[in-house]
């Protein structure tokens, strides 16, 4: 799990105080962090808000990112803790502007039901399991990388992914050939 060359140099520059380098890290990793949060919390507007909070929290802590660590996993770890904190906060207002979400191109007709089923089943999964599924099945994280990001034991991540995958496939009516 080595930093790729560009990430490594950007992290080094950001650790030396370069806001421009950090801004490029935001550009490079916003997609992964936002996608993870969308799948973990289900509310796109809230996910994007949490993604911004994640990067705001990451900037003063960039010095703690150790050489050899994955920037993507580190950011998703911060994002996951932000998400858990937000979930615990009962007083948090859920009123968000989701108008932009309506502007997305519609999914192909045959996939709409599957999409709703996926969202429903994901919403029913426990938070840990949901986060493991979001990272390993949707975002191509290795089990080890997900364990590092979520601060969970490797075996727990593997069992969460296996169970989550089985529930999703069963709900979608897909034969599991694995």
């Amino acid at each position: 799990m080595k930093l790729d060359g560009l990430d490594e140099s950007l992290v080094a520059a950001a650790q030396a105080g370069s806001a421009q380098a950090f801004s490029r890290l935001v550009d490079r990793h916003q997609q992964a962090v936002r996608a993870f949060l969308r799948r973990a919390c289900g509310d796109w507007a809230e996910a994007d808000d949490l993604a911004q909070e994640t990067f705001l929290a990451a900037w003063p802590r960039i010095g703690r990112l150790q050489a050899g660590g994955s920037v993507r996993a580190w950011l998703c770890g911060i994002a996951y803790r932000k998400h858990l904190t937000a979930r615990r906060s009962a007083a948090r207002s859920r009123a968000r502007d989701t108008a932009w979400e309506q502007e997305r191109p519609p999914a192909p007709a045959g996939q709409i039901d599957d999409r709703l089923t996926l969202e429903t089943v994901m919403g029913d999964l426990p938070p840990d399991q949901r986060a493991c599924v979001a990272l390993c099945l949707a975002a191509d994280f290795s089990h080890a990388e997900a364990a590092e990001a979520l601060d969970l034991p490797l075996g727990t991540v593997k069992s969460h992914v296996t169970r989550g995958r089985a529930r999703l496939l069963s709900a979608l009516g897909v034969e599991d050939d694995a």
Partner: protein, 101 residues
């Protein structure tokens, strides 16, 4: 299509764009705003600390400043006159050198 491919295709519909300048700009703006607020809080804290220190030390400072100011008053007047003269004469000199005048 394998079951995993199908799951991945469904999940891919959640994928934000690879490049999103609006999101990056929003993060940058919030970072700048946060840094500005921290700077303002630091300056406000230092100002309050300075004011409290001055207030606490005023009984000691006041006699010393009065004594020093009595002694330095002539020099301060001379300096003020010199600066005024330089400023006025310098201003005249610049105007004289200007082609419009």
């Amino acid at each position: 299509m394998t079951p995993d491919d199908r799951l991945k295709a469904l999940f891919a519909q959640d994928e934000p764009p690879a490049r999103d300048p609006v999101f990056s700009a929003a993060v940058g703006e919030r970072l700048v705003r946060r840094r500005w607020l921290q700077d303002m809080a630091l300056l406000a804290g230092l100002s309050v600390l300075g004011a409290i220190t001055l207030w606490a030390m005023w009984p000691v400072l006041q006699p010393a400043l009065t004594a020093v100011s009595d002694r330095l008053a002539p020099a301060a007047w001379a300096l003020a006159l010199a600066f005024s003269a330089v400023a006025i004469l310098g201003g005249f000199g610049e105007r004289a050198a200007s082609p419009e005048s």
